[in-house]
Symmetry: C2
Subunit: 356 residues, 2 copies
């Protein structure tokens, strides 16, 4: 997922979340030292893999919390950091599933450990095994500790229990979405638009938007009504965000997204855009190019032209706007305090702003 400046954490909040994570990793590394230097290296590598992110989920937690009058920025930073660590766990294991050794152009945990092993003269096969093993272990540690960060955040027991329910929901949904995604990847047919939306909602939107916003609201002691509405807002805007993200993966610029805009077409990523296109007559001309390992820049340009000509692009952009508008409608509900509306409106605007 890529964000724009508007979706990033404010510097102050980012600093608070970073401080929580730095403290967490510092403690873990000290503790790991008793088990040998290799273990410290694993924790360092895990820490490296949490740095440089946009702290998007903490932003959602803290935005909801502070706009709802929460005063304990430290507690909110802890809960935000917990969601950040959950995110790390999920992407680390997602990379294991996808057999990816690179993320955003730099080696991920598997890639780092593969490189270590290669530098030590291991064969490619052994080096890959070493990389994947380290990522499985590191992801487990991140997952377990996402829970622990909430647990040790110092909030009262009733709130803690509710926050942990929310995080449980986040993982439960994300695992379901990941499972559907794996299933998509082994199916010959392109799934239907609504199945893709369900997958993306479960795999990413719930844990990235819906649950962090709810957690912030719960921590601020908001009413159930507000918590529910915020969850609804998060779901709608999260879906919109994923749709836009998939659009940018094909039509964005590399400067904007930090990744090649040929990648998704080359690997045959099943998105709303593609699901729509495959239902049109025009797709027959170019369908064979989609998912071609040796797709050229010219092929990609041809695919893009057809995606525009067949109406897939405009349909998908319209769908993103539809979900963003639905999200805005939730914010307009009378029980949403103006400060919260002011805080979250720019999030929806930023998503809309990413569609021309």
């Amino acid at each position: 997922m890529d964000g724009t400046g508007l979706l990033a954490l404010s510097e102050e909040r980012q600093g608070q979340v970073d401080a929580v994570l730095a403290r967490f990793f510092s403690l873990a590394k000290n503790r790991a030292a008793a088990f040998g230097p290799q273990y410290v290296t694993l924790w360092e590598t895990l820490e490296q893999n949490t740095i440089g992110g946009k702290r998007f989920r903490p932003r959602m937690v803290m935005a909801a919390y502070q706009a709802l009058g929460g005063q304990d920025a430290e507690a909110a930073a802890n809960i935000g950091a917990a969601f950040e660590l959950l995110h790390t766990a999920l992407i680390v294991h997602d990379d294991v599933i996808d057999h990816d050794f690179v993320r955003r152009g730099v080696p991920n945990i598997s890639g780092t450990y593969r490189d270590f092993a290669t530098a030590n003269g291991r064969s490619d096969r052994v080096a890959e095994h070493s990389g994947i093993s380290a990522a499985v272990i590191a992801g487990d540690l991140a997952l377990f500790n996402s829970y622990r960060l909430i647990d040790r955040s110092g909030v009262n027991d009733v709130t803690r229990a509710r926050l942990i329910e929310v995080m449980d929901e986040a993982l439960f949904a994300s695992a379901a979405g990941e499972l559907i995604d794996v299933d998509f990847s082994i199916q010959a047919e392109v799934p239907r638009v609504d199945d893709i939306l369900t997958m993306e909602r479960l795999k990413t939107a719930v844990y990235s938007f819906e649950c962090p916003l709810q957690a912030g609201a719960i921590l601020a002691g908001a009413s159930d009504e507000v918590v529910t509405t915020l969850g609804d807002f998060g779901r709608e805007i999260g879906i919109a965000y994923q749709i836009v993200d998939d659009l940018l993966g094909v039509f964005g610029t590399e400067a904007e997204t930090g990744k090649t805009t040929v990648g998704d077409l080359r690997e045959g990523k099943r998105t709303v855009l593609i699901a729509y296109a495959t239902s049109t007559r025009e797709w027959a001309e170019v369908g064979d190019l989609f998912g071609c390992e040796d797709l050229t820049d010219e092929d990609a340009a041809r695919l893009r032209d057809v995606l525009v000509a067949c109406g897939a692009r405009s349909f998908t952009e319209g769908l993103a706007r539809y979900y963003a508008n639905r999200a805005l409608a939730r914010l307009a509900e009378p029980h949403i305090p103006p400060a919260l509306r002011a805080e979250l409106h720019p999030v929806a605007d930023a998503v809309l702003g990413r569609v021309r």
Copy 2:
């Protein structure tokens, strides 16, 4: 790890633990149904992979708890079930790391999903990917929910916090041990005896013996002194158990261990037995056979003969007895209540009884 009857849970306790797990999985499956039948199948597969175990870790929790006067069998069963689920998570991910599709002669989660995919006409490569992906996801769910089972066990908050510290320690150690084990597997040299003992202690003994016993004692409200001594007992007996397990992997009978006694020799598993043997003159005659993918039964018999002749077997048996005796010495300490001693003595006897 294999147990004997003496190490198994009593029928009554087993029933209590099974009931907790059955209820947990029933709730999870109901909840999963809202996400589609595929997700229910994943939970069913995960449940299948927790059935048929000896409930060894719950036995440790409940033995310590009840012998220390604990009356709330339901709470102890919950904590025991939490450790059982942690065990499931760790072996499911261990199988991912080892690229194993079978455990104890039946398909594990990866194997089950690989078979599903094969039956649906997928290629071997795609079917393996599907299998491994499902196992990564299922292991994450088991791991997270091992925590949740403690969380929802209904114990008071102070006890809950302490129990979660113990489980944290269990995972922290196990991840360290797994990392060392992966490192062993990619090294050309056989590690030293003490490095193997450290790895086995961290990877398995801590979470299987030390932490479950401590959890049971904490739940029973035992003194710190008793909790510490029980932890020490668990560590020593856990190491003894692992040493014996490795011995049985080479010298046991298939009836006894449920697995082939050629497997460890064929895959080149680095154990105390082998670490000792490689330091002897005799090993040079047969060293090349060790870890041979096409090791025959005759080769295995030759390896076994040398392992006896070079003194590795008797050294290793002696080492197991040493750790078991050290464990018994801890039980003999005066602050250990007689009921607890009576409960745990048979555990040490059972381990010793597995060495001729």
